[in-house]
């Protein structure tokens, strides 16, 4: 047997699931190494630039699948660096969902009430705040006014953004140049580093194997920092505990590839994937009607023409988050911005033969881009995604130097999912086409299939071994010492942005992971406070005590 580097804990991935684990374990005294497949960028490297090779392609990944495309982060800080920092708690009814399996999807131990203390920890750590109306952007305000006009409520969404520092540039998906977004680069990760955690960017984990002493060996490739198709080296590191948090599009792929060395995986590894029931509609507003019907105007006299201004979503309508409605009919409708390219290609215009995503009518629609309003549906899909055989390395065959890859996720929406989408399309149309306010069309699913920015559930927690890969402590069934704490552990679509729930579940899993590490002889204790200022204070106290 060859020798490998040794540490107490290897954390795979540095998004919410990885960063939170790295912080608690390092703060508790364990030796922690974080392997992150993407690069590590500083604030100054976050560019306002669409050119290939800028931060917008270095830190972002688009994996086309078979019926589902997954968009996510690819950098130290993971999704938190590229996301819109919208962080509501999941509605209470979500925890009672049964999907199509006829039993509660979440473990019995988890409800909104029992998760609330863990939500509180993350809210304090980032922090997350409730926005006031004077923080709401023009597109959010327009959506609110349209909802009110149609007899609906609308809420400013809770966000992890320092809105006083925010310039409303809408370049969030390329990383925040102004340190306004409270990504993990601002809290958990620096706190973990201050407690000795090592973060290694451009280290892509390929598979795990088990050593004779019961520890695990993590096999990784080193990725070129410009052309991610090139592997510049490889290595291995041994650890007593593995925290797998590579994201719901990658975690199951690593486990599938490890089956040869670790033995059979639970049935639910790589199955029950949820795209969070996501769907997009784009409205082209009639500026005159916005003024006449909604009474809106901006300084300078324009009614709207503000699609480019803002910071992703700022207002959502939660009227359909109604526990009394049947499952698959509940969804939130959130105003959203995607930059051109991702945010424009799949939008449809009314063509001569029906909806058209390309051609003269689409070009005319693009000319009105500043009058667009994009509405994001998050609904209850049917966990119908299944990962095919893993590609030779990583979670996709990388096509372009950066960003674009082809993966093996198959997704054929069931009648339940399609019903939710149809109901949400109708709801958006009803709100925005009233009194001639706008013309609304859903994005096409013909080109890249369905799509999600919130992949979930591909290695999920649950009480039923037949339909969940992890127990309610996030430990991989039949593989003790491997824990999964990212979005793949969330059992189902949440009808809202899932980041806060992913993070809260990771926080909740930590005492159990610390206990497992102790059982394996790691000198570690649980109990670190929220990172941030508290972390440096804790370190100072530790030094004094020493």
């Amino acid at each position: 047997m060859t020798t490998a580097e040794r540490t107490d804990i290897v954390v795979i991935g540095s998004g919410f699931g990885g960063a939170i684990a790295a912080y608690h374990l390092a703060a508790g005294g364990a030796k922690v190494v974080v392997l992150e497949r993407g690069p590590w960028l500083s604030t100054e490297e976050f560019e306002h630039d669409f050119i290939l090779g800028s931060s917008s392609t270095r830190i972002f990944e688009f994996v086309a699948g078979r019926g589902m495309s997954v968009l996510g982060g690819n950098c130290v800080g993971g999704g938190s660096v590229v996301f819109f920092a919208t962080m509501p708690r999941a509605p209470s009814f979500i925890f009672e969902r049964q999907g199509s399996i006829g039993r509660r999807l979440f473990p019995a131990a988890i409800s909104r009430e029992t998760l609330n203390p863990w939500y509180d920890r993350v809210v304090e750590a980032l922090p997350v705040h409730r926005q006031e109306w004077n923080e709401v952007t023009y597109p959010g305000g327009l959506w609110a006014a349209a909802c009110r006009h149609a007899g609906h409520t609308a809420n400013p969404v809770p966000v992890a953004i320092d809105t006083a520092m925010c310039t409303n540039c809408n370049w969030m998906m390329a990383g925040c140049r102004f340190d306004a977004k409270r990504s993990l680069l601002m809290n958990y990760l620096p706190a973990a580093i201050s407690h000795g955690a090592q973060i290694r960017p451009l280290h892509e984990v390929q598979q795990l194997s088990r050593n004779d002493d019961g520890s695990y060996r993590v096999h990784y490739s080193v990725i070129d920092d410009e052309d991610y198709r090139i592997q510049t080296g490889s290595g291995a590191i041994d650890a007593k505990i593995i925290v797998l948090a590579a994201g719901a599009g990658a975690t199951p792929v690593i486990l599938q590839r490890s089956e040869r060395t670790l033995g059979a995986m639970p049935f639910a590894v790589g199955r029950y994937f949820s795209g969070n029931g996501e769907r997009l509609n784009t409205a082209v507003l009639n500026e005159d009607k916005v003024r006449e019907v909604l009474g809106l105007s901006r300084p300078g006299g324009q009614a709207y023409r503000a699609n480019q201004i803002g910071r992703g979503p700022s207002v959502a309508s939660w009227d359909r988050l109604d526990a009394s409605l049947p499952e698959f009919s509940r969804f939130s409708l959130e105003q959203l911005y995607f930059p051109p390219g991702l945010g424009t290609i799949l939008a449809q215009a009314a063509g001569p033969d029906g909806p058209a995503w390309f051609g003269p009518e689409k070009k005319e629609m693009l000319r009105q881009w500043n009058s667009w309003l994009t509405i994001f549906t998050m609904s209850e899909d049917d966990n119908e995604g299944v990962f095919g055989p893993p590609p030779p390395s990583g979670n996709a065959v990388r096509i372009s130097q950066q960003m674009l890859g082809q993966g093996n996720l198959e997704y054929k929406p069931t009648k339940n999912t399609l019903r939710g989408w149809a109901e949400s399309d109708a709801a958006v149309k009803d709100i925005l086409e009233r009194d001639g306010l706008a013309k609304v069309m859903p994005w096409t699913n013909e080109v890249v299939g369905a799509y999600t920015v919130h992949p979930l559930a591909s290695c999920r927690i649950g009480d039923d071994p037949a339909t969940s890969a992890l127990d309610d402590g996030h430990e991989l069934r039949n593989h003790p010492g491997i824990f999964v704490t990212d979005g793949s552990a969330v059992p189902c679509g949440l009808t809202v942005n899932p980041a806060l729930t992913i993070a809260a579940l990771a926080e909740r899993a930590m005492p159990g992971i610390v206990a497992a590490a102790r059982e394996r002889g790691v000198q570690v204790k649980y109990g670190a406070p929220a990172p941030g200022g508290v972390a440096s204070a804790t370190r100072a106290v530790d030094r004094t005590a020493a």
């Binding site: 306002h48 050119i51 004077n134 023409r305 390309f358 096509i399 372009s400 950066q402 080109v447």
Partner: protein, 189 residues
């Protein structure tokens, strides 16, 4: 002098131009421009730099453009034969088609059950990106030089340091009632 003949580099370029023009069509550049069908007024994907972007190695498709152009023309020939359309063989077959016929070939190639769907969608996406994002150029340069796509979309100019800031961003008032179940922290119940 511009030419749409079917020889060498021109064959590939005009084929790719005709492909790009199908997604974001533009006005003909000169009276007998064949590659651009002239299905819309103003500059389209070709003027926006679609071929230049496709030829950028970072896309991962640049090495395959010769064979893609050849395959596209073979598909166009086959489509024309099966639809009774006569092709002028002085230009590449896809270029010889009308805009409506090119769009029909595109729809065939990107149909969910077409075996080559993935690659055709990929090269279509880059054609769109050339127009919508100018991904082959620094965005500040694209804006400064009046890039046709970003200009048509009304993409705002950056500040002098090349960064975007919008100091006026809010209507500044409550515009809807909150959901009655909203918690004190602002979450759904």
């Amino acid at each position: 002098m511009q030419s749409d003949t079917s020889g060498g580099d021109q064959y590939r370029m005009r084929t790719l131009e005709a492909w790009a023009d199908t997604f974001v069509p533009g006005a003909k550049r000169w009276p007998d421009d064949r590659a651009i069908a002239g299905a819309a007024a103003g500059p389209g994907a070709v003027d926006a730099g679609a071929v230049e972007l496709l030829e950028t190695p970072a896309t991962g498709v640049s090495d395959g453009l010769d064979s893609l152009a050849k395959a596209l023309n073979e598909h166009a020939e086959a489509w024309a034969a099966s639809h009774g359309v006569t092709i002028d063989d002085s230009v590449p077959a896809f270029v010889a088609l009308s805009y409506a016929d090119r769009a029909a070939v595109v729809r065939m190639l990107i149909a969910p059950d077409h075996p080559e769907k993935d690659i055709w969608i990929l090269v279509a996406l880059f054609c769109f990106m050339a127009f919508d994002t100018a991904a082959h150029m620094r965005t500040v340069d694209a804006i400064a030089t009046g890039h046709p796509g970003l200009t048509a979309m009304g993409f705002a100019k950056p500040d002098a340091d090349g960064l975007w800031r919008f100091p006026y961003f809010s209507y500044g008032k409550q515009l809807a009632s909150l959901h009655p179940g909203t918690t004190p922290a602002g979450d759904p119940a």
